[in-house]
Amino acid sequence: MYDFAIQTNELSRTFGDFTAVDRITFDVKQGEIFGFLGANGAGKTTAMKMLTGLLTPTSGEARVSGLDVFKEAEEIKQNIGYMSQKFSLYDDLTPEENIEFYGGVYGLKGQELNHKKEELIHSVGLEKFRKKLVRSLPLGWKQKLAFSISIIHNPKIVFLDEPTGGVDPVTRRQFWEKIYEVSNQGITVFVTTHYMDEAEYCDRVSIMVDGRIEALDSPDELKRTFNAKSIEEIFIQLARSAERGEE
């Protein structure tokens, strides 16, 4: 049971008569980098919100780090980190203050928090900017900092919702190096993205179309099954069958 970081069974969410997520069933293995792909409006964000406790599922089952999303939502919160597509640091605070604040939110204090703060500042390379307001930092650095903060409490799983949106290729590359680093520490990474080249970096990817998961496997296997050269090809092939338009 605990080999899986995330397990879902027929998980659904409806808003009125609109079924945003339609009976999805999938597992995410512990320690893997799981790419969660889909066009806009396919239901990715809704699915992710259910797994992180922001939304209650309408039906089905889901366990996150072995805990039931219906009954143990509070316990799940200690075990997960989350970084949203919206930029999520306070830009009128300094990097240090952001770290202190979010660290505090996750119950870090005193020595431990100070230690963590130093470590984090160094690992992101923010020594020069530690007393400057986050507002003045380049976007790439903000995102790296936001990512580092999302795992400040050593969660078992980290959810990244389009973490590299609007970032240049070099910074994206660096960001993925960071993801690998985190994954090597044993943290499961659940990531949604728009960039198909990034999908190739994942251990396994799923592709959502109209609220359902239409494909799920390692990038290589997927390419073999769909007889395609890249994930992008598969994605376009599947997305073309979609009936829903953009949100």
């Binding site: 922001l54 919160k77 999520s88 009128d92 202190e100 979010y102 505090g104 939110v105 119950g107």
Partner: protein
């Protein structure tokens, strides 16, 4: 608890770093108080008057003298005929003309009755009313004096008027309690709703909701700094009101602050409620201003007395927390009333506070589903 403290510290840092917020928080109360205190007055000063004296005797001269020496009036012109009245008013400078009938003093001593006509420019009905009653008071005073001297006969019934609690009819005494309500509403409700929606807009709220922080901690953490700042504002207003405008404070400070805190909590709850409905700062601001500030100013009795509103509006005013708060604060400040008199209003205010707190908690939680 540690995470909660961190939250409050962060909130204060953000408030103190944002210059615009600071100006609104601390500048506005002072500016509003000074504006209302100095500029917006119901009492009149130096209103120009004209006199058409058809009698020109000792009494009319003395009366004219009396009127002119009052602070309210400034004697401006003698008219010689009725025909000039219209002309003078059209010129606009003069707001009131007093006409003494011919043989004024003779009639007064012989018949005990003499007529004074008071003509006012009623384009500004408020002013016209006040001017009229001032004139009446001055003339009555004079007649009374004459009576003491035994020169005329006492005619009919003479009311003796005593204005209690605010004998000089200073409007600032009335405005200060209202202003406290408006400022608390503005700061507590508007500022919290804006600051919460800002977290939503920036995406911070999602992170907080995914974190182990409980929604109740988030709400209290957001609201507590504004509670503290609101109390500081109340103190500032009281000090200014006392030293600049000499507004009396006759009741108990403890009772006053308890009532103020109940009212602040209501406003904060409304702020939280608005932020759970509004998705961005603009909407939050519009809703707060139109939905809270306007009723607080117009329907609470702050400027317009509730008693003179049409019945449906009076009904509406009952659900406006500021109305009850105003009654309470005016009574405490001006009359020195205690809880034994104000318990009903306090209870209503408390009920409204509880209702909105429950509503906003519920709404805030629902949003998580």
């Amino acid at each position: 608890m540690n995470s909660f403290n961190g939250f409050v510290v962060k909130e204060f840092k953000q408030i103190f770093r944002d210059k615009r917020t600071l100006v609104v928080l601390f500048g506005m109360p002072i500016i509003m108080l000074i504006l209302f205190g100095f500029a917006i007055r119901n009492e009149v000063k130096n209103v120009k008057i004209g006199v058409l004296d058809l009698s020109k005797d000792a009494v009319t001269r003395e009366l004219t003298q009396k009127l002119a020496s009052s602070e309210a009036f400034e004697f401006s012109v003698y008219l010689s005929t009725y025909d000039e009245v219209e002309e003078v008013f059209k010129a606009g400078e003069i707001k009131e003309i007093i006409v003494f009938e011919p043989n004024f003093s003779e009639k007064l001593t012989l018949e005990g009755i003499a007529n004074v006509q008071v003509i006012t420019d009623a384009t500004d009905p408020n002013l016209s009313n006040i001017v009229q009653s001032y004139t009446g008071a001055i003339i009555r005073d004079y007649i009374q004096e004459l009576n003491y001297q035994g020169t005329t006969l006492q005619q009919g019934i003479q009311p003796t008027i005593k204005m209690m609690y605010n004998p000089e009819l200073k409007s600032v005494n009335l405005f200060v309690p209202g202003l406290i309500a408006v400022i608390l509403m503005l700061i507590s409700a508007l500022m919290t709703s804006i600051s919460i929606t800002r977290e939503k807009e920036m995406g911070n709220m999602e992170i907080l909701l995914v974190s182990p922080l409980k929604p109740i901690h988030i709400i209290i953490g957001k609201v507590l700094p504004y509670l503290v700042l609101s109390v500081i504002n109340v103190i500032t207003i009281l000090i200014l009101a006392h030293f600049i405008f000499e507004v009396p404070f006759r009741g108990s400070y403890i009772l006053f602050f308890i009532e103020a805190i109940i009212f602040i909590l209501t406003a904060l709850a409304l702020g939280v409620f608005i932020s759970s409905v509004a998705n961005n700062q603009q909407t939050a601001m519009m809703v707060s201003l139109a939905g809270l500030l306007l009723p607080t100013v117009l329907l609470s009795g702050f400027i317009f007395p509730v008693e003179s509103m049409p019945y449906p509006l009076q009904m509406v005013s009952h659900i406006i927390p500021a109305k009850w708060f105003l009654i309470v604060v005016r009574s405490i400040m001006l009359k020195g009333s205690g809880i034994e008199i104000l318990w009903m209003e306090t209870l209503i205010l408390f009920g409204i506070a509880l209702f909105f707190m429950a509503l906003s908690m519920k709404k805030f939680n629902v949003r998580l589903q």
